[in-house]
Structure formats: structure tokens, C-alpha cells
């Protein structure tokens, strides 16, 4: 089962990835081959088998106490920011 160019465009948009026209056929073909490999899974009988999201059985989520442990380090963290003004991270205008 092959993916079409349209399928790949839709996926690329969901994932916010720009793919150039030149690159597109390569992705269509390689994604199609990958999908062929994963389609093998349909041959396995998994009736009554629970999906396994975590490799460790019997582990459960720890609860942490409701205590403030962090303080303000925004100057240090914002050194990595591409664009900051008045402490805010800037992005192109968002229209709501």
C-alpha cells in the first residue's frame, strides 16, 4: 500500500515540516517503503492482547509533593532564545 503525494503533504503539514517539491518524491517513496514494512504487523494475531505502552510491568506513577522547588532563571534560559522582548518569547503575530 503506497502513500500518495497528497498523503505526504497532509502528514508534513500536521507535523509542520516544509518539504520542497524536489524532495517530495523521495519522501513519498521512502515513506511508502516504510509503511510496507510496518504493514507486516497485520499478519500477527493479536486478538485479546492488551497494548503495551511501557516495557516495565507493574510500575506505577510516582506522586511528588506539592512543593515549589524552582526559582526564576529566565535570564539564563532566555540566552538561548532566538527572539525575546520584555521577557516574552516573540513569534509572528498570532490571530485569534
Amino acid at each position: 500500500m503506497s502513500l500518495t503525494r497528497q498523503d505526504v503533504e497532509k502528514i508534513a503539514h500536521l507535523a509542520r515540516l516544509s518539504i520542497t517539491d524536489r524532495e517530495m518524491p523521495v519522501y513519498v517513496s521512502s515513506l511508502s517503503s516504510i509503511v510496507e514494512v510496518v504493514n507486516e504487523l497485520s499478519r500477527v494475531d493479536t486478538a485479546n492482547v492488551e497494548p503495551m505502552a511501557h516495557p516495565l510491568v507493574g510500575q506505577r506513577q510516582r506522586l511528588r509533593p506539592d512543593v515549589v522547588t524552582e526559582s526564576d532563571h529566565h535570564e539564563k534560559y532566555q540566552r538561548n532564545a532566538p527572539q525575546v522582548q520584555a521577557g516574552l518569547y516573540l513569534v509572528p503575530r498570532v490571530i485569534e
Binding site: L3, H13, L31, S33, Y77, P82, R93
Partner: protein
Amino acid sequence: MLHDLSIGELADRLAARELSSVELTRHFLARIERLNPGLNAVITVTAEEALAAAARADARLAAGERGALLGIPIIHKDIFCTDGVRTSCGSRMLDNFIAPYDATVVAKLKAAGVVMLGKANMDEFAMGSSNETSFYGPVRNPWDRTKVPGGSSGGSAAASAARLAPFSTGTDTGGSIRQPAALTGITGIKPTYGRVSRYGMIAFASSLDQAGVLAQSAADAATALKVIAGFDPKDSTSVDAQVPDYPALLNVPLKGLKIGLLREFFEGLEPRNAKLIRDALAVFTSLGAETLEVSLPHLPMSVPTYYVVAPAECSSNLSRFDGVRYGYRCEGPKDLTDLYERSRGEGFGAEVKRRIMTGTYVLSAGYFDAYYLKAQRVRRLITDDFRAAFDKVDLLAGPTTPTPAFAIGAKIDDPVTMYLNDIYTIGANLAGLPGVSAPCGFVDGLPLGLQLIGPHFAEAKLLGAVHQFQLATDWHTHRPRGYE
């Protein structure tokens, strides 16, 4: 030569003050300067910080403090956040990223007194089996520089194999420690899922990733594992279980140890490779172990399973790279969508984009049940197969890879062929099991690795078995020509 010594021997000499950490550090920094250009194993060298750390270690040693890793140099895979030092994850997306904190693994090793020499090259975002997807260019295998070292911890493996440092850290999601260790003739361990903290380790596939080490021997790996293992409250998936004293448990008697040989691993193996593996296994039996054939019937499904689960998780984990708070941002974005699409489209390489898109696809409406849920069900079947096998045997054994190192550029155009390199290693990640690769011979001058897989938290048994093997053999002492 200093770089021929084991971590234990180095620690002894440092303790006896026959050697200073600064001297040792200078020695390895000089090797990096001379030898790294031909390998491209190290992408950031932290010479000044290393010498400062070495001086601090020397002060601690002078004050009478002793520690198995105190003053010992290390190279960290560039996937671990290192405070104040660039952490690129092999990607243009993080080429300008200075981590503002230390990963727990880094912090623990720092506290133990290691001296970080630099950050190792790797497949971009840990996605790859050849270290050819790095933004910083491919890493070369010191045994043959036209060949790949494996991946994704290719830089760590090449650095350890070439003795640019006594040991290095790596991560293993589908084999990324074990496979490069096998292709470069060193000993690599992927611990049980949850044994080592993932905090600060840039996430690829959260339910599969685990941190480990690439070292010269099981003994050295044991020393390092003892320091990095342990519960971390900052990682919800970290297991709160006591860490055994691995170095003290290496003298595991192999008598009566039952080693399962996976039929699925030996099927289709090239005769010369198969022979090396069987010869290695013969060493185990000569030491008193028994081998039995076992079968994990669902194991052949591990590649399709992995290539649903890992991309699904990574497609979500990598959504945070959007050009807003850190990392690469495209020039002149015209609106928000453009900012996201071009920052990510330009910042990520092709393999990363492929996996993000695969993951997005298998999670998307209409496909979720057929792919993601299905894969997680098959994952349970694979895990159950392993559990059933471990009812009959103590450890499983087989080759780490189907072949020794292949040529740079040989497989990069076909992702599926590349994915099949992971065929022997992926199962352990899906089931969260610990695995080790140890060198067991050469084919056409290139190293081959023997893989042992154990049940959960069997690291001591694994390292002990390999240690006994390494006492009886000397594959792990061979050096690549030019790197003696």
C-alpha cells in the same frame, strides 16, 4: 601507554599519585587533536573545562579522596545535556544550543570526578545505525575509515575504540550502543529500561531510550554503570531499586549458567559470522555454561513493531523544536506556520523528518488502531516471548549485528535496508531488557560482536558473564591499526 590502561588501572595510578588527572587529561586531549580529524568522532572538545575539572580532581585526590572514576576522562554522547556546553544532538536544529543544565547521568559522573573531554558525534537525534545522518558529517570506523562505526552512538564508539578517552556514554533505543560497540570492537551495555535516569537525555523514543556506556571491557563498564545507575525523582520512569555493586559481582561462575541461543538470530547468518559466534559460545561452555536452543516466535516482528512505536513517540517528542524558545529558527518567517515549517524543515535532516512523518502517520486518525495499537500489542507478544524464554534460560546469546561494519554511503539511500541492521538488537528495547555487546573476533579485519541479553535487572549477570569471557579471550584488547 596511558590509553592502554583500564579504568581500574588508571584509578590505581591516580590514587598512588604516580599520575595526575591533569597529565592524563592532556594525554587524551592530545590524542583527540591528532586522531579525531580522521574520525570525526568528537564534535565539541572542551579542553579548558577538562583541564579545570582535572585540576579539581587532582585536588580531591590530594586531599585523600578516592573514587573509581575520580580524575578519569570521559566523552559524552552529544545527546546528554551538559551545562554551559553546546549540546547539539547531531543536528543543525541544536547547533547553537548551549544546555543550561546537566543531565542526571552527567551530574552523577561529574560528582564521581570524571573529566569531560568533549561531546561525541552521533546520528541526528539518535536516529540511525551508521552515524551518517549527523549534521556534523559521518563518523569513521577506526578499524577501517571507509567504513561506518555504527550508530547512533557512532562517535562514542569510535572514540572509545580509538582510545580518545577511556570510555564514553551512549544511548540505546534500538541498538544504538550495542551495534556500534560491535562494529568497533568494544564492550557496550544497554541497561534495563528505568535503571538509568533519562532526565537530561534528549528524548527520541521515550519508552525505548536508555543511557549506557561504551568501554574497553565489562569490568570498566561495570565501574561506570555503578555510578550512573539509580533512581532519579526527576524521571517518572526511573525505577527505585537498589544498585548492585557491579564491579564486585564480576566473578560470576559460569558453571550451570544456561544460555539460550535464539534460533531466529542464527537463521540466515553468514557462515563466517556464524562461526565466530559459535566459537565465542564454545568459550562459555568450556567455562561451564550450557547452551540450549530457544525460540522467540514473534521476534521477526520486532523491526515493524519498532518502526511504528519509535517514530510515533519521536514525532511527538520532537514537536518542541519549533524555533521559538531555543534552537534553529528560519530567516524571516512570514507567519507562524512558516516559522514552524521552515525552522523544522531546515533544522532537521532527512532521516529525522522521515521518522517524524512516519510517526505522525501511524498516530493519525484512521491509522491509530491498525498501526500504533497493533504495534503495542505485538510488543507485548514479543515481551512475553522473552519472559517465557527466561523461564528456561538465564541469558540469551547471539550476534549483535548481521554483518561487520559496512561502507560509508552504502546503505544511506535506503532506509529500510538500514533499519534491518537493528534486527538483533531491537527486541531488547521493546521488552526493556538489558543487553551487552562484547567483541568476539574479526571478519576481514573488521570486528564482530557477541550479544547477551538478560531479564530485567540482570546487569550483574550479563557483565559477569562477559567478564569471564574476557578473562579467557583477548578480542577486547585488540587495537585498530594507527590507534595503538
